[in-house]
């Protein structure tokens, strides 16, 4: 029965939202374009910085890297990672309403006919996972297509201009080349867990409030470096693969995410099995 509900969720929660993915593709192109222009601007003053071609690795780290550790010092600038926030908040926002609307609308028919609240919840968790994976796949596709368009290199090397752009302290960086694949995977997993948390909270409070809580977790994570503020796990720039300044262990990051994922799943299962399915008017 879970497969039948999942088929429905894939059809109505993913395939029917193709238009959204098209918009996201364009959005990621915009982010890549902004990076491209910033690189060009940097090259005006220091042309040697842009001798090496832009890479897909630059684009991904720019969008998903997050920010270095926040330090309260007047002489140290902290570059607020607007693009990182936007990327995560967009996936959080676009996956916000579907589970709740599903339960109060057509999905009510589905859940009654299926006879299983548990199957409904499992299906939503899997739907969310597929949704997040597609989102990042589109980002990768967008980066690859932009790279082809501007003649960038299709590899995951990171160039010096990006380090300067992100205001990273060279003395606190792990020697190149970096393996950014694993930190990026941790980022994706963390975002999935955040979205799961948001979905769970939306059964207790209004969906928009749960979105604000997700946003708050991200903001607090920017300013407080702790793996237990899980927004930190979504910042590859703070992981041991990139920085030596209070690095976050990737292994610990995955364990924390997995643990949180399991806890959220179990709480969600208990909640869905016991909750009243009512309309907004009630």
């Amino acid at each position: 029965m879970f497969i039948k509900i999942l088929k429905f969720d894939i059809k109505n929660g993913i395939i029917k939202r193709i238009w959204l993915y098209a918009i996201l593709f364009l959005f990621f192109w915009l982010v890549d374009f902004v990076l491209f222009m910033q690189r060009m601007n940097m090259g005006v003053d220091t042309p040697e910085l842009i001798e090496q071609k832009l890479t897909i690795g630059d684009m991904l780290l720019y969008a998903l890297g997050g920010a270095k550790h926040f330090v309260i010092e007047e002489t140290v600038a902290f570059p607020f990672p607007v693009q990182w926030m936007l990327v995560i908040l967009i996936i959080a926002f676009t996956s916000l309403r579907y589970p709740v609307d599903n339960l109060s609308g057509y999905g009510r028919h589905i859940i009654i006919l299926s006879g299983s609240r548990r199957a409904w919840w499992i299906s939503k968790c899997v739907w969310l996972m597929i949704n997040v994976c597609i989102y990042y796949f589109i980002m990768l596709l967008s980066a690859a297509s932009f790279a082809l368009f501007v003649g960038a290199e299709c590899n995951l090397n990171i160039n010096e201009f990006l380090l300067r752009l992100l205001m990273l302290n060279f003395r606190e960086l792990v020697p190149m080349p970096w393996n950014i694949v694993v930190p990026l995977l941790l980022h994706i997993f963390t975002v999935y867990v955040l979205c799961m948390l948001q979905m769970l909270l939306s059964f207790f409070i209004r969906p928009l409030m749960s979105f604000f809580i997700t946003s708050a977790i991200l903001v607090f994570s920017l300013f407080f470096s702790s793996p237990f503020l899980i927004g930190n796990l979504a910042m590859p720039l703070r992981t041991e693969n990139i920085t030596t300044d209070e690095p976050i262990s990737i292994g610990l990051g995955f364990v924390l995410c997995l643990s949180l994922c399991i806890v959220i799943f179990v709480i969600g299962l208990i909640k869905v099995n016991r909750m009243d399915i009512l309309t907004k008017e009630d």
């Binding site: 029965m1 029917k16 859940i111 009654i112 299926s114 016991r274 009512l278």
Partner: protein, 218 residues
């Protein structure tokens, strides 16, 4: 089918919406719920459907307790509140999607149920373009199409014209004759009185009296 409601109470927030109700509902009968707005008709239907959990008491359907042995009744058709379907699909497609969950009926059965409620099975209009009456009819079609053992209809004649009301009355009677347990709530006393084998009067979440077709009080 036998539905046993035993000492069921329910609060929504601080409001007591169902207060210590006990009932036994049997198949091949039409049970009418009668009461003013807020009397508890819809809430009681939701409790029986497994949509909401009683704070006290229990609901047993054919020997299986809701919220313990089963999450929802095994065989149920339901129309509660405004019908909710997918805007971008036709009525037929909407029902076909629902029918694919249990795979008990085929396309012809779906088309027949649409015809039964006075809708054109081949109508290419999407749900978003349906009138209120059409939406209501589609909701009823969804409730009866799989010939469930239990049918809950909350205000089924809302937004229907006279022809539609007659059609629904005939459908309800037909389903009862088939052996289904039908529960209907309606503001229109004449419809409830005409159709129901037993009428359950609700007020402030309580059952105040039960009247059968022959007008004998219980």
């Amino acid at each position: 089918m036998l539905i046993e409601v035993e000492g069921v109470s329910k609060n929504i927030g601080r409001r007591c919406v169902i207060d210590n109700i006990s009932l036994k509902l049997e198949s091949s009968k039409i049970w009418g719920f009668k009461g003013i707005n807020g009397s508890g008709k819809t809430m009681l239907m939701r409790l029986i459907a497994g949509l909401i959990k009683p704070d006290k008491g229990r609901i047993i359907i054919d020997g299986k307790e809701l919220w313990k042995d089963i999450s929802f009744p095994d065989s149920i058709g339901i129309l509660i509140e405004n019908p909710a379907f997918l805007d971008g699909m036709t009525g037929f497609k909407n029902l076909k999607t629902l029918a694919s969950i249990k795979n008990k009926i085929n396309d012809n059965d779906i088309k027949k149920s649409l015809s039964d409620v006075g809708l054109d099975p081949n109508l290419s209009k999407k749900y978003r373009a349906y009138s209120l009456g059409m939406k209501q009819r589609l909701g009823i079609a969804a409730a009866i199409m799989e010939k469930p053992e239990m049918i809950l209809l909350d205000e089924p004649t809302n937004a229907l014209d006279d022809n539609g009301v007659e059609l629904v009355k005939n459908l309800i009677q037909r389903e009862c004759d088939r052996g289904a347990l039908v529960v209907v709530s309606c503001h229109d006393e004449s419809i409830i009185t005409e159709l129901s084998d037993k009428i359950i009067f609700l007020s402030e979440g309580k059952v105040v009296k039960i009247k059968d077709k022959d007008d004998n009080n219980e």
